[in-house]
Symmetry: C2
Amino acid sequence: MSLVVVGSVAYDTIETPAGRAERVLGGACTYIALAASYFVPVGIVAVVGDDFAEQDRQLFARRGIDLAGLEHRPGKTFQWEGVYSDDWNRRETRRLELNVFAGFEPCLPEHYRRQPYLVLGNIQPSLQRQVRKQVPEARLVAGDTIETWIRTARNELLEAMREWHVLLVNESEARLLSGERSLRRAAETLLQVGPKAVVIKCGEYGAALFCAGDYFYAPAYPLAEVQDPTGAGDCFAGGFMGYLAEQGCDLVADKVPRRELARAVLYGSVLGSFCCERFGPKRFETLTREEIDRRFRELESYTRF
Amino acid sequence: MSLVVVGSVAYDTIETPAGRAERVLGGACTYIALAASYFVPVGIVAVVGDDFAEQDRQLFARRGIDLAGLEHRPGKTFQWEGVYSDDWNRRETRRLELNVFAGFEPCLPEHYRRQPYLVLGNIQPSLQRQVRKQVPEARLVAGDTIETWIRTARNELLEAMREWHVLLVNESEARLLSGERSLRRAAETLLQVGPKAVVIKCGEYGAALFCAGDYFYAPAYPLAEVQDPTGAGDCFAGGFMGYLAEQGCDLVADKVPRRELARAVLYGSVLGSFCCERFGPKRFETLTREEIDRRFRELESYTRF
């Protein structure tokens, strides 16, 4: 194993203009881990209830994902229900039940603690710090967050960020966290907090990378049809970090590797695009590394002349 | 002269979160012509009232723009007043006075009629057709439109589009005109109407080019600060067509030149970005071709690794 992922594993009910899916496997940890599993062996840290289904355990297992850090607790798994507006522009949370996730105290199995790569999904900043401490020798740590923590746990989040090499946020989070409208200014402000690179995800428009005075932009893959964008941002994170782990990037010892980070952003974009093609994590039941690499080359060609 | 531009010349009053400008020169024709003038000699077709100021005539003249097609009529010039929301995401029209523009009947000077390049700004589709007929030998015609004409003159607009080589629209117009949410699908539908290339402008996210089964995406230039986005889409059109005219592109005789169209999209993005740096067309008082080419190379490097 090489990459540790911490975050939520959930059961989602999702309604989009393209249809509805009931109680499908979801959560940031799920999507990050599935996407990253195409690049390196992945281990997850999360909690599920006694309703966690065998078929979902098998989906992780088929992707070779280590479940030693998946805690089982009495009670129900985290549940979320969301509805996308007719124009896809807004997502409304209809129901959110933390259930067993409420008492989540991540404690990493011994063999997780020596891993070089760590992705901190958007859980409470205090939990992110707790996990970060347990992987002290990590050579590359990336963290994500959500509006809730920016608004309610800002200082703790800033403390957490100081211990990350890469911050992954979407554009509204970048603006809220930095107080800057311009993404360039927002990234400059966030880089001063500590991370060596800031990746700002712009959904269907792609993603921007800011590092060491440099900039890179990758468009999103132009899908003919979207079924469900849930998890696309997390798949971006998984593709991004999976690729960097595969390349053996070391942000502790080495200079910021612009070329590899840029390629990682492109891989993030590719994994995010596959995620949108089916409801929930369904696309990962059949997706192959070959398809990923083919789409990577295609996406790369879209900015070349 | 090489490139003919038809559209509105206006006086705009603009309020953005960065400030306010009263009665500055505006209109699609103004921005397209100024942006294109860095590449080839430009002639404009528009109408102004007797309030048209000498300093504005001089701005055009300094950029070498032919004003033989600028009709002067008794009355006031077209006026527009718009306000951008605090988050920059919405623009509200506070006042719109067509004035002399209401009776605009574009009649091109003789020497305009033999020009190879034509940009049809977003005026009524019937007027666009009238102008198109007067430049029968054009080797590349690009047209823009707005929501108003898509809603009120749809059939006339589709007729007009059949006579264009390139359609330039923003993403909401592309969706409205095609009935498709996916930009890829929208472009496929619009390409079937007649144009050989469709460029979809996505504002601060960049622009996408669809042509001959191929795709190209150029990000927007990441500005640290925006003063006023008014005219950026028109400057995109001007930079795009100016570059293609400079290269002598011929979409009547030749195959669709993907490489040149892609570079043109990048130039469009660059010109749009300069436009946003100052209120109204102020940036064009000092902008040089050298600055444009430098930013082109910079923007190109942002998608390379």
